[in-house]
Amino acid sequence: MILLETKSLAKSFGDMHAVNHVNFSVAQGELLALIGSNGAGKTTLVNLISGLLQPDSGTILFKGADITAMSVHDRIKTGIARSFQLVTVFDQLSALDNIELAVFSREAKTRRLFSLASSDHAVREEAREVLREFGLEDRAARAAGGLAQGERKLLDVAVAYALQPQLLFLDEPTSGVSTREKAPIMDIITSIVRSGKITAVIIEHDMDVVFKYSDRIVAMHEGTILADGTPDEIRRNDHVTTTLLGTTSSS
C-alpha cells in the first residue's frame, strides 16, 4: 500500500532545478533510503514533502489525500514528522523537556498557559519512556546543548519520533558523528522504527549504512530519480555505482 506519493513535483532555485518533476512514492511500513551526491535534490524533496518549502508545481498525496498546500502544523497532525541534517534540538531545554514538548504538542496541550508542565505525569512518563528507548534516560535532566554530538543526533530523531508520526523523514541521522558511532545510532533508530511500525525515509551518504539498513533505495541525481530498487538491485546497477558511488561494481 502506498502511503505517500509525489506527482511531477518540481522546485527550482533560479536556473537550478533542485527537484525536477519527481514521481516518488513510499510504501507503508518500509524503510527507504534516499541517496545521491550533494545537490542531487534529496533534502529539497524532503523539504517539499514536510512543508518547509512550497513546490513550484506538482502534487503530494499522503494516504491518498492532497497535502500540497497544507501547513506544516497540519502535516504534523496528519502524521508526517522529520528530523534535520544539522542537529536542531532545543539547546537550553533539558533533554526531557525536548521530548515533553513534542508530546504536549501532539496532545494539543501547548496552549495551556496556566498549568505546570511538570505536573502532567502521563506526559512526563511517556517522555521518559522515549528517552529510554533511545538510550538517553540518564541524560534526561541535562540541557540538550550540552550533550555529545551522537546523543544530540539521537535526541533530534527522538523529538520527531515522540510526535508518533506514520511517516518519518530522517535527514542524515548519522552525519557529523564518528564512523564508530554510526552503527550504534542506526541500530537504535532502525529497531525503534521497525518495532513502532513507522514508515521511514532516511537520507544518507554512508553507503555501508544504506545497504545494511534499508528495504529499498531511491537514488537521485540532479533533481531526478536515477534508480529505485532493493539494496541488491542498486548494488548491481552500474549506472548508479558509476554516477553516485564513484566506483565500478566489482563484487
Binding site: I76, T88, F90, L93
Partner: protein, 329 residues
C-alpha cells in the same frame, strides 16, 4: 546558563521569607523609603512582562514604553472623562487598553525577529509618544495629566490622612499583593507547556514549527501577555507618581525596561524583579547625589555588560549552584 527549572516547593521556600520581609518593611522604614520600594516592585512587574519576550521567547522589544504608557494614560483618561477614581476600574481599564494595543502591535511585530523586531516595536511605540505629545487637548501634552489618589476596594483615602502615608501603607500593600499575584502567575506561565513552547521557539524557530508549534501565533500570545503585564505596571505607577507625561511613552523609557532586565539577569526568572527594584534605588541615589547621574547609570551599564553579562541574579545563581551542574557554556 539556562532558565533553570525550580520545583514549586523550592520556589515557595524562597518566596515566603521574601514575602515576610516585604510585608513588615513599612513598619520599620520611613514612608519615603517605602514608596521607593513600591516603584521598584512596579518596575519589577513591567520587567517580568518584558522578559517573557526577551528571556523566554528570544525577542528583544525596544517598545515596551507603549504598554506602560497605555496602562498609565488609560487611568488618566478614566479620571478625566469618566470621573472615576476606583483603583479596580483603573486596573481593568489599564489592562484592556494595554491588551488592545499589544494585540495590534504584536500582530505586526511577531513576523520579525532580532533587530527588525526591535526596531519595529520601537517605531510603533514612538507613534504613541508623538500622539501623546501633539494631542495636548486630550493628553495635556508635555504637562501631562494629573491622577488623584484612588479609592482601594471602594474605600477612599481617609479624611485627614496624608497622601504620602496613604501611598506608603494602604497603597503599598495593594501594590504588594498585585506584585505577588503577577509573579506567581508569570512563574506558572513560564513553567507551563505554553512556556516550554516559547522557550523552544527561542532556541530554534524552525524546529519548533516542526514539532507542531505555530510560531507566530505563540509569539503573539506571549506579546499580548507581556504587554498586559507592562500595562498593569503603568496603571499601578500613575497614582504613585500622581501624574502621567509623554516621557513614559518615549523609547528611552523602553530602554529603562531593558536596563532593569539586563541588570537583574534576563536568563533567570527572578532577574527582572531584582533588576527593577535595584535600578530604581540606583537611579534615585544617582539623581540625588550628582547632576551627572546619567553618566553614573551609563558606567553601570557598561560594567554590567563587560563584567556581569548574566546580571545580578544570573551571577548569584552561578556562584551558589555548584559549578559541575553548569555543563553549559
Amino acid at each position: 546558563m539556562n532558565l533553570i527549572s525550580v520545583s514549586p516547593k523550592q520556589a515557595l521556600l524562597y518566596a515566603i521569607p521574601i514575602a515576610g520581609v516585604l510585608l513588615f518593611l513599612p513598619l520599620l522604614i520611613e514612608p519615603y523609603q517605602v514608596t521607593l520600594l513600591e516603584y521598584g516592585l512596579i518596575f519589577a512587574i513591567a520587567a517580568l512582562g518584558f522578559n517573557l519576550l526577551l528571556g523566554y521567547t528570544g525577542l528583544l522589544s525596544f517598545g515596551h514604553s507603549a504598554y506602560f504608557g497605555m496602562g498609565a494614560y488609560a487611568v488618566a483618561f478614566i479620571v478625566k472623562y469618566l470621573n472615576v477614581t476606583s483603583m479596580e476600574v483603573f486596573l481593568l481599564g489599564g489592562a484592556l487598553a494595554s491588551a488592545g494595543i499589544a494585540a495590534l502591535f504584536g500582530f505586526l511585530c511577531v513576523r520579525y525577529t532580532r533587530i527588525f523586531f526591535g526596531i519595529l516595536t520601537m517605531a510603533l511605540s514612538q507613534v504613541l509618544w508623538s500622539l501623546a505629545f501633539k494631542f495636548y487637548w486630550v493628553t495635556g501634552g508635555t504637562d501631562g495629566l494629573r491622577v488623584p489618589t484612588p479609592s482601594l476596594l471602594g474605600v477612599p483615602i481617609p479624611q485627614g490622612e496624608e497622601k504620602m502615608i496613604f501611598l506608603a501603607h494602604r497603597y503599598y500593600y495593594y501594590v504588594l499583593i498585585i506584585f505577588f499575584l503577577s509573579a506567581a502567575v508569570m512563574w506558572l506561565i513560564v513553567h507551563s507547556p505554553f512556556g516550554k513552547a516559547l522557550q523552544a521557539i527561542r532556541d530554534n524557530e524552525t524546529r519548533a514549527e516542526f514539532v507542531g508549534v505555530q510560531v507566530w501565533h505563540y509569539r503573539w500570545i506571549a506579546f499580548l501577555v507581556s504587554g498586559i503585564y507592562t500595562g498593569l505596571a503603568g496603571t499601578l505607577w500613575v497614582p504613585l507618581n500622581g501624574l502621567t507625561t509623554p516621557d513614559i511613552l518615549h523609547w528611552t523609557f523602553s530602554g529603562k525596561i531593558v536596563f532593569f532586565t539586563v541588570l537583574g539577569g534576563f536568563q533567570t526568572f527572578t532577574g527582572p524583579i531584582i533588576g527593577g527594584v535595584v535600578y530604581n534605588y540606583l537611579e534615585t541615589y544617582a539623581v540625588g547625589h550628582t547632576v551627572y547621574w546619567q553618566m553614573v547609570l551609563g558606567v553601570v551599564l557598561v560594567l554590567l555588560v563587560l563584567v556581569l553579562p548574566a546580571g545580578i541574579a544570573g551571577t548569584a545563581e552561578r556562584l551558589i549552584l555548584k559549578p559541575e551542574k553548569g555543563g553549559l557554556k
